[in-house]
């Protein structure tokens, strides 16, 4: 590995670590009012929905149907691994059918 690649990867690592700690650091410096705390605690569900929603809405028929199956399974309160297994089975089934 030459020096330039080494420094580039090191720089990528530093940039990534900065993004990982920056929000945490800033949240510790500002005054956490109950309202601000509530907003911060609502971010996870918003991000999870944002990650999943576009791929479901723009997905092909098997993906949309499998997503419905996973949502239905998750609502019953099953564990993550169970829902994951159901999702994999569903996508294989629907891809086979369609």
């Amino acid at each position: 590995m030459d020096k330039t690649s080494f420094l580039t990867i090191l720089g990528m690592g530093a940039a990534t670590y900065l993004t990982r700690v920056l929000g945490f650091y800033i949240a510790g410096k500002v005054n956490l009012t109950p309202r601000f705390r509530y907003a911060l605690q609502s971010i996870p569900i918003a991000i999870l929905v944002s990650i999943a929603a576009p791929s479901i809405i723009k997905g092909s028929v098997p993906e949309i149907l499998s997503a419905m199956v996973v949502i239905g399974t998750a609502i019953t309160g099953r564990g993550l691994l169970f829902c994951l297994a159901v999702g994999i089975l569903a996508i294989n089934f629907f891809r086979y059918v369609f």
């Binding site: 690592g13 900065l18 509530y38 911060l40 996870p44 569900i45 918003a46 999870l48 723009k58």
Partner: protein, 226 residues
């Protein structure tokens, strides 16, 4: 109350199922590094950067002479969503020792963070849990990249086994189980609309950040309305 070490071990155990989906991506990443990065550059990327999307993006830009600053800047921009994720962890880690939190944050990736937030919302889990989930993903990310790099040609494509859907299934499940009832409805609706609009009109990974910010603002506005 758990110690951070107990939380770390629990994070490793409960992070394992998620690692299946991540390992599928790791294998793909390993296959893509062939002919672009040397073995040691691949190992170093996985161990120092540990952020899948930006690592794959860097491969696209990895032509001599290396556009060093463009690669580093793009890495920062792709990972800006981490800033929001780190901020959302803070309320749960206020009382932790600072060095433990900053150490744990090194291992924060989308999947481990999501698992940790779900856990922390249910039980008062320690920040070590984040490090545990991140650590098992870290280990499997490196291992799967090496497997993909060495054995790429012999591995069937993820689509054939349906493993490409694994991460979607994981995020859907975590979104459903993280739902806190009626007060979350405006947040969820706004996040769906904003993320889909950004995904369609802006592209890249910006839709995650946009949906997260829009959801947080919605919660700010709707606070105390119920």
């Amino acid at each position: 109350m758990n110690t951070n070490y107990q939380a770390f071990k629990l994070g490793i155990k409960e992070g394992l199922p998620i690692a299946i989906g991540v390992a599928a991506y790791g294998i793909v990443y390993g296959m893509l590094t062939q002919g672009v990065l040397t073995t040691w550059e691949t190992v170093m990327s996985c161990m120092v950067v540990f952020a899948g999307v930006s690592q794959i993006m860097a491969l696209e830009m990895w032509n001599a002479p290396l556009p060093v600053f463009a690669i580093i800047l793009s890495t920062f921009i792709v990972n800006i969503r981490h800033i929001l994720m780190g901020a959302s962890i803070y309320p749960y880690a206020e009382k932790e020792k600072k060095w433990v939190s900053y150490f744990s944050l090194f291992f924060m990736v989308d999947e481990g963070w999501a698992l940790t937030m779900g856990k922390m919302a249910r039980t008062a889990e320690r920040i070590g849990y984040l490090a545990g989930t991140g650590f098992i993903l870290y280990f499997l990310w490196l291992a799967s990249a090496m497997i993909g790099r060495q054995a790429g040609a012999f591995i069937p494509s993820p689509e054939k086994l349906g493993i490409d859907f694994a991460l979607s299934a994981v995020f859907i499940t975590m979104a459903v189980s993280g739902f806190r009832g009626r007060k979350d409805i405006p947040v969820v609706v706004v996040a769906i609309i904003v993320s889909c609009l950004f995904e369609h009109f802006v592209g890249g990974k910006w839709y995650i950040l946009a949906g997260g910010i829009a959801g947080g603002l919605t919660a700010w506005v709707s606070y105390g309305q119920d």
